[in-house]
Amino acid sequence: MNKKVQKNFWLIIGLVFLSLIINMPKKLTINNRDFYRPNFKYRSLDLKYGLDLAGGASLIFDIDTTKTKKEDIPSALESLKGNIERRVNLFGVSEANIQLSNQMGQNRLIIELPGVEDISQAINLIGKTAQLSFKGEIIIPPEATATATVKDLFSKDTGLNGSHLVRSAVKINPNNGEPEVSLEFSPEGSKLFEAASKEFLNKRLAIFLDDTVVSAPVVNTVITDGNAVISGKFTSQDAKTLAAQLNAGALPLSIKLLQQDQIGATLGKDSIDKGVKAGLIGLLLVSIFMIGNYGYLGFIADIGLIIYGLITLSLYRLIPVTLTFPGIVGFILSVGMAVDSNILIFARMREELRRGKPWNMAMELGFGRAWDSIKDANTCTIITGLILFNPFNWTFLNTSGMVRGFAVTLILGIFIGIFTGVFVTRNLLRVLGRQKS
């Protein structure tokens, strides 16, 4: 055994060991001794699941840009995205993914909300394009109180509206620890607000979203700096909703719901379980088939296949790849393709053996000759994989997460499959292969 082969062999052992560590559960107990998975500095090593597996909601909105000047569109889109991001955060969704996309001139907003089971509420919060306005309380003559509506009560317009509000957020009052909603106005809004707070000092100033009053706080002091606080007996959820609603009034572009998907977590879990079961049984059949057909060689190929699985899973965790159900199918399909390299090689080896070459030479020739076919055939699959994955986000190609989830595991699978099918099995055979003359 020469030096190079020995080096490669240890490299493979090292890789396997590394993959095992990456893939081990967070805590493992063997003989009452606890082993912990080392922490990786840059990111969590947990597998990431897409919405279809983990449950959650995805929403696609059409954005109406027809009323905006062309040169203002990019900044309006960015501010729309920022606004929605704030609202979603206030709604309390962690790891929400908000993207702008442009499909042949039509601007869209894609929102993914992992773990959200009730999207109706989310849609209401996100999609509301209501107009925000601030109106002061008037004194209603006693004879009219019976017929007066809230709108009549607050009918003195202050001229303030959503465009004057920069942002609204939830704060905790440092004195009593209660949640409050803060308002920050633009310079122009500050002046209007100062005038309004003078006029309605010790009276109520109602905040309207379209025709509904969302809050009607009493003005306690004259506010000159454009930073106001609404306090009251808020629960933190109320304060969050109010702040989100106030931000809602400030949408720079109107949006319309185009598509909504909502997947319950139980359904996703069911998919994972079934997918994993199908994958394992398929893998078992492939392994038996390989041993049945190629005997000892097939056994080595099966070891290669296990290493393939370990490395692939490690890369899913490291990159990280967000696993979707089509992604799992892509992985399962690429297992089949990974075995293909070995089948090509072994078929070549057999031919060389039939021609009377000694085993070691036949093996090396098999690997060498099969390499061209492996390379060419897999390049074709990668070409299609890239078109499906659409790395440059070309708008004339698919951008759906499902298709991409499939493409990414397929492409990764092909590269790793070539590595394990050619490099790993070859070196394993060189080291463990029988020395038949």
């Binding site: 997918g275 994958g279 049984i281 059949l285 089509p326 199918v329 399962i332 076919s373 299609t384």
Partner: protein
Amino acid sequence: MNIMKFRPVFFILSGLMIVISLFSIIKWRFQLSVDFIGGTVWEINTDKSKSDIEKIFQKEKIEINSISQTSTNQYVLKFKPISNEDKQKIEPNFKTLRFESLGPSLGKELMRKTIVAIILSSLALLWFIGSKFKDWTFGLGAILANFHDAFILIGSFSLFGHFFGAELDTLFVTALLTTLSSSVHDTVVTFDRMRELKHQNLKIDWVQLANQAVSETIVRSINNSMTIIFMLTSLVVLGGASTRWFAAALLVGCICGTYSSTAVAIPIVLFFKKLQKH
């Protein structure tokens, strides 16, 4: 092994499959999913009976296009797009497992993108194979075999749709494009062998060359397809309902791809070689 003498048989078999596909597509068309035509799919979990569920929707004047039971207490309902207000009214009646709603405009987009992707990947493969083998007939053979597979896959889903209710959706499109790549995979391996044999013996007749190349690679080709077929069959049988047809589409594509690399791609190359000679 003189496989190429069966060329007329292959021709008839492929022709027959194409005719059946064509017939089914014209007569029965497709069961298009909401991905293509827009609408709402609502998967629910409830212990209510089917007629009770129907009554709930009737009360809100929402027309149910179809309702099917997938397992105990689990139903898939389909509608024209449901508004969010209506959904909120009905939602408390049962547990929502999945709710998918989209407008019809996305369907046209999907259709257009699929066609663009097929053309683009065909051109890319034509260019790659053509330049790799320095022979345009090889590229053409591979691409036509590809179209043959794609067409039969589409046709078979028209049949499956008519008899078993299989739908065309985004996943089907993915399966279609994957078939294009895996079909070429086998073809390239056989072509590769033909090129190698040609280098060894420049005077060899093309038909004889094809026979030798096929007989040397067919065992590998079948073995390889078997492994993919194992994986996919286990997915079809054991996988969830949502991706069963996806796996089935890949399976049909895989079987077609194995068949066509020997029975379509090579006969086409031989056909053009014969034309070139005259």
